[in-house]
């Protein structure tokens, strides 16, 4: 390839004059590519925005089935991996190739960790039938929240969240990891206190919530939910353990809106496409790792690691948007 000019280092393309020119071109190309990636996701984000504005109640209702803890852990994992990636880029510029290998390996491990956690989440959704379109068949027929749920429905939810005490109904409801868990709320309250008060409470709390859901503003729903810890019907239903319990039970007493599957459709599309990008990023990291081990890089030339780093940061960044948009809806 590099036929002429003895001053041309091996890694410099024949059509470039200087190493800087090649580096600039590579970096600029990568930024443009990242722009296309952002636009690819932008289509889905646009779909998200449109459906959320058309059906706010669907998003408010359905998001509670996502596991916030898992999402938060994954966020931390990815942010940490971005940190190690950035360190790897720096180490490569300084020519510390052994450090580069170690840091890239950690980044790669984080990628696997992310995918593992995502797999656990997907599996739970799959088991509960919380899927897209026609595949949406929640295992515990959630069309009537007031309807007492079958107690054994609690089991998979507990197993999935890994709560040590299956008997602790409050934990199950609080985790909100499946409709079974949510519907447990009513019987749970019955376990805790006076059935008569609970019946009344459920009816009372369902009414304002239902009204609120008719309103376009998603905030209205929450104005009907007392803050955690305030003694009220809702907190009585599910003792607050982690902060989110009040919300779950508040919604649990409302009717399931129509077309909840739309949320899961968007959830799976967004997280699925992101997951594919994580895999692509991990492949790129592996490639950079192999090349580092092969000794391709020197302080004068480590552009591929820079570029892989940029890509990996984008993959992280997309997740930083996905997490609040999907898991932390208010």
């Amino acid at each position: 390839m590099s036929g002429h000019g003895s001053e041309h280092p091996e890694y410099l393309g024949h059509h470039y004059d200087t190493v800087e020119q090649q580096f600039d071109a590579g970096k600029f190309g990568m930024w443009l590519f990242l722009a296309t990636e952002v636009l690819l996701f932008a289509g889905l984000f646009c779909g998200y925005a449109i459906y959320r504005s058309h059906h706010p109640e669907v998003f408010i209702y359905a998001h509670q089935f996502l596991d916030k803890n898992m999402g938060a852990i994954n966020t931390i994992v990815l942010i940490f991996s971005s940190f190690t990636m950035a360190m790897a880029v720096r180490a490569a510029q300084l020519g510390k190739n052994r450090q580069v290998v170690a840091l890239l390996a950690v980044t790669l491990l984080c990628g696997f960790g992310f995918l593992g956690i995502k797999y656990v989440e997907y599996k739970a959704k799959w088991e509960h039938g919380l899927l897209w379109g026609t595949k949406y068949q929640p295992s515990e027929h959630g069309s009537h929240a007031e309807e007492p749920a079958v107690p054994h429905a609690a089991a998979p939810a507990v197993a999935q969240t890994g709560a040590p005490n299956p008997g602790h109904v409050g934990t199950i409801a609080e985790q909100g990891s499946g409709p079974g868990a949510v519907e447990q709320a009513s019987p749970a309250a019955q376990d805790h206190g006076s059935p008569a008060a609970q019946d009344h409470g459920a009816a009372a709390s369902s009414t304002p919530s239902a009204v609120a859901i008719g309103d376009p503003g998603p905030l209205d729903v929450h104005t009907n939910i007392p803050p955690p810890g305030v003694p009220s019907v809702t907190t009585a239903i599910a003792p607050d353990l982690g902060g989110a319990g009040g919300h779950v039970t508040g919604h649990a007493t409302t009717h399931e809106p129509n077309n909840v599957h739309l949320f899961f459709g968007i959830y799976f599309l967004l997280t699925g496409l992101h997951g594919l990008h994580v895999v692509a990023g991990m492949s790129a990291i592996t490639w950079a790792l192999v090349r580092t081990l092969r000794g391709d890089f020197s302080p004068g030339y480590s552009t591929p690691i820079d570029l892989v780093g940029l890509y990996w940061h984008l993959v992280d960044l997309v997740w930083i948007y996905l997490f609040p948009l999907l898991y932390l809806i208010h």
Partner: protein, 563 residues
């Protein structure tokens, strides 16, 4: 041979009689399939694109033949639906969108810029392989029965039809990536590989046009990608986003689709305008008029192009306000387009016009694009569009722009750069005959369709009432004339490769940098960065009757000094 090459210092390198060029650099099919040379990749694109153009053209002629009589002529209604879909999909995705940038642009861009190659040669080759993969998917669909949705794949029909929507969609998705990578490559090349002296405003206008196109390719195509993924998800998994039965919105598909596909119209037409700018000046022997305005108008068209997609949905139930906004924005696109046309006309004014094949096509372009552009205003006007929407008027409008514009400019560029690509001249006389046949045939085919459309003939209909018969017949006969024109073109171009007159290094007397290379450029383009001058200053070259070629005055002077 050596005497001619001696006037070009770059060419003498090969030694006596042996002319080292990109065509002879490496032999055998494999050396082509693994090449990283932008010129070879351009030629490979050219071959593939022309093959798909042939395939799409055959489908077009079949569709037109079907319309010779009302009801069934040569195929049933189902087949008809598939054929017009395949015609559209092949022409749009396989030919017109990659068309000028991938084939002509790949060949010419680094040469014009004075660079040795595009920024990412391997990515460039990968784009070609992606194109091939996408084409295979489309071809597989053709062989297994095709699709009948129309090239736009509108939901909900595309999610319910029994034909093979998914392979075609995957194919188009892959083609999209090919397009993105080409655009990315060109953008970076223009930004980072300009040699010393090649400032932005010394760049030939074709490069401005390709640059504007590349920006659209990079920024719009990903949205098509996600749209098609959603369509696949909808069809394969029943995700419900476009299905009203599941709370989805089929019009959202149209928004997504046109958010890409309207800018894509400018992916098709902008490089065509660039080609025309490149031809009008040398064939008028006069500097281009309003260089900066033409350059800026390319960027303006690219920018406006992103803001008008809603005009495809005037009758899809958008709000009146949205319709008005989109209508106004649509009209605004005509301003930069008209700027270009006026500048071309002003360039020709008082020029010494040379009527050679590229210029004949450039004339055709201005005329046909003018009609196509002006009828676009009819469709952009809300009240008129309600009547004309989805009629043959629309069909005719976009054929005037896409065929009368892009395909004609593609032919213009092909004839213009043919001597540089292959070092051979084609028969000027036959080229003029073919150009005339295509021009006349095209107008007979499609002007008739304006009349049909304004009388209410809907597009994509298999049957028609008797009163439309005469128009359909005229239109079909016109298409045969056009077809004949293309057959002649194919014959004399192939003939020129075999037995064509040897072309000089600069047969048209152009002053952009690709004409500084020897008659067939060497593999490395330029040994040293070429001297960058005004791209449209024709005092830089002089016609040498002894060589029957134009020579560069500065090179001549340099050689005299050496002697």
């Amino acid at each position: 041979m050596t005497t001619i090459d001696a006037t070009h210092p770059g060419a003498t390198r090969g030694g006596a009689g042996v002319e080292e060029n990109y065509l002879t650099h490496g032999k055998g099919l494999l050396s082509w399939l693994t090449t990283l040379d932008h010129k070879r990749i351009g030629v490979m694109y050219l071959i593939c694109l022309l093959s798909s153009f042939l395939l799409g053209g055959v489908f077009a002629l079949l569709v037109r033949t079907e319309h010779l009589t009302a009801g069934q002529t040569i195929m049933d209604a189902e087949t008809y639906n598939r054929y017009f879909t395949l015609h559209g999909a092949i022409m749009v995705f396989l030919f017109i969108i990659p068309g000028i940038p991938a084939a002509l642009g790949n060949f010419v861009l680094p040469l014009m810029l004075g660079a040795k190659d595009v920024a990412f040669p391997r990515l460039n080759l990968m784009s070609w392989y992606l194109w091939m993969t996408g084409a295979m998917f489309l071809l597989a669909s053709v062989l297994t029965g095709g699709v009948d949705t129309g090239w736009t794949f509108y939901t909900p029909y595309s999610t319910t039809t029994a034909t093979h929507v998914i392979p075609v969609t995957i194919g188009v998705f892959i083609l999209g990536f090919s397009s993105i990578f080409t655009g990315l490559n060109f953008t970076v090349t223009i930004h980072k590989l300009r040699p010393p002296g090649m400032t932005w405003f010394k760049m030939p206008l074709f490069l401005w046009a390709i640059y504007a196109t590349a920006l659209i390719q990079v920024l719009a195509t990903p949205v098509l990608g996600i749209t098609l993924l959603l369509l696949i998800a909808e069809r394969a998994m029943g995700i419900g986003i476009f299905d009203p039965g599941l709370g989805g919105d089929p019009v959202l598909y149209q928004h997504f689709f046109w958010f890409y596909s309207h800018p894509a119209v400018y992916i098709m037409i902008l490089p065509a305008m660039g080609v025309i700018s490149e031809i009008i000046a040398p064939f008028s022997r006069k500097a281009i008029f309003g260089y900066r305005f033409i350059a800026y108008s390319s960027i303006a068209i690219a920018a406006f192009g992103f803001l008008v997609w809603g005009h495809h949905m005037f009758t899809s139930g958008q709000s009146g306000l949205i319709n008005m906004v989109f209508s106004a924005l649509t009209f605004s696109v005509s301003i930069p387009s008209a700027i270009k046309v006026f500048n071309w006309l002003a360039t020709m004014y008082k020029g010494s016009i040379v009527l050679k094949a590229p210029m004949l096509y450039a004339f055709s372009f201005i005329f046909l694009f003018g009609i196509g552009g002006l009828t676009g205003l009819f469709l952009g006007a809300l009240s008129v569009d309600v009547h004309l929407h989805d009629t043959y008027f629309v069909v005719s409008h976009f054929h005037y722009v896409m065929f009368g514009g892009t395909v004609i400019a593609f032919l213009a560029g092909l004839h213009y750069w043919w001597p540089k690509m292959f070092g051979k001249m084609y028969s000027e006389r036959w080229a003029a005959v073919a150009c005339a046949l295509i021009f006349v045939g095209f107008n007979v085919t499609f002007f008739t369709q304006y009349v049909l459309g304004s009388q209410g003939m809907p597009r994509r209909y298999f049957n028609y009432p008797e009163q439309f018969a005469i128009y359909h017949q005229i239109s079909t006969y016109g298409s045969y004339v056009m077809g004949l024109g293309f057959v002649i073109t194919a014959i004399y171009l192939v003939q020129s490769l075999v037995a064509g007159r040897r072309a000089g290094a600069n047969p048209w007397g152009s002053t952009t940098l690709e004409w500084r290379t020897p008659r067939i450029p060497p593999w490395f383009n330029f040994e040293n960065p070429p001297p960058v001058g005004d791209p449209y200053d024709y005092s830089q070259v002089r016609y040498d009757p002894a060589l029957d070629d134009y020579v560069w005055v500065d090179q001549e002077r340099h050689e005299k000094k050496a002697i």
